[in-house]
Symmetry: C2
Amino acid sequence: MEQIDKKAAILIEAEKLFADQDFDAVSVRDLAKAANVNIAMISYYFGSKEKLFEELIISRMANSQTTIQSIATDPARTSIEKLMAVVDFYTDRLMNNPNVHRMINRELSSSNRPELRELLISKIETNKTYIGKMLEEGKANGTFRPDADMGLVMINLFACIQYIVGSPYYSCKMLDVPTEAQLFDPEFRTRIKTYFKELFSHYLLKK
Amino acid sequence: MEQIDKKAAILIEAEKLFADQDFDAVSVRDLAKAANVNIAMISYYFGSKEKLFEELIISRMANSQTTIQSIATDPARTSIEKLMAVVDFYTDRLMNNPNVHRMINRELSSSNRPELRELLISKIETNKTYIGKMLEEGKANGTFRPDADMGLVMINLFACIQYIVGSPYYSCKMLDVPTEAQLFDPEFRTRIKTYFKELFSHYLLKK
DNA sequence: TTGATTAAAACAAACGTTTAATTAATGGTA
DNA sequence: TACCATTAATTAAACGTTTGTTTTAATCAA
């Protein structure tokens, strides 16, 4: 009996394994066993283990550019409302796709696959540009303090959420969250969102 | 002619290689070549590649517990002064030892070596406890807002600096810092410290 | 019968580790 | 100091596994 879509099955299992272990720590035999397919299928469908890995990351990395752009350029929102919307969107986006962001996180921290890293950065950079402009606009229109460090505000938001998602086991222990599942619960998401909204409001808004 | 300390040479080169690449991506032959020693010397001195890796991390992970403790329990400092001192200390500590913290960062994000991860977490947790008590004390004595999220303040500081140090290539691009070396310059350190001091002051202090 | 799909086996290369042999250093004895 | 015995350090080669990938043959659906 043939499976409808073995290629999809491989991608699903690969996502789980690569989220938790390094690229080299996962063998094609591990992948084949988890997806219940023959070893040859990885090369057959993807060409190589590395191409499977790249295809997996790229396909799972949803396109967030249009959303960020529409938030950043929305004339109906004030500067602070835009920032709140970015916090919400970014928190949900990462917490909805923890596996792929763990992979991305690990790719960005090593030079094992430089071309892939470059590709990921270029995608992320587009969003950074939009949010950067958005924050500078808030300075220009008098909403935000002129001496606020907008570069660090951005990387602070990105880094902190990426870090929690990328090292869930560690983060649970540090935040006294009992299970990793609870880390992605709506309750904890609200906590994250509230924290950053208050944090940035206090830091950015004029008194 | 015998080398004086081949073991130290191996550790030095291993630190560079493991900082930039995954554990499995660095072979013992790479290590031996970089340190200019025979392959057998890794097993001879360390027992195995994995033991070398563990010994490297543990030996390079300086003991920060006594410093954090003395800051947190210093009666001469106010609560806000203690927090500022922690920001300074933590920034310098990570930026002075980027290589080992890149390794730690990567270890915390995977379950490739669970025992090592557990060991690292237990060491970090001690500091977390001290700083946590310090922040709660600030709440109790009326310095800090009672509804501030101290857990997230802590992980925010840790995560953000660890992230910048752990993914320097990426961070440079995001922060418009031209070279990785400049990321660890005094100038950029001051920027980080100033940012967090202002950020946390605005968020924590009562108005 | 054809072409797509599968499984099992085989492939060479690379892996971490060990062996066996050799050289260098050390310590005690005369 | 000179000598020998012993330990330690170093090397090249080989070890058995595991790696990612490919081949071959069989099976299946159309």
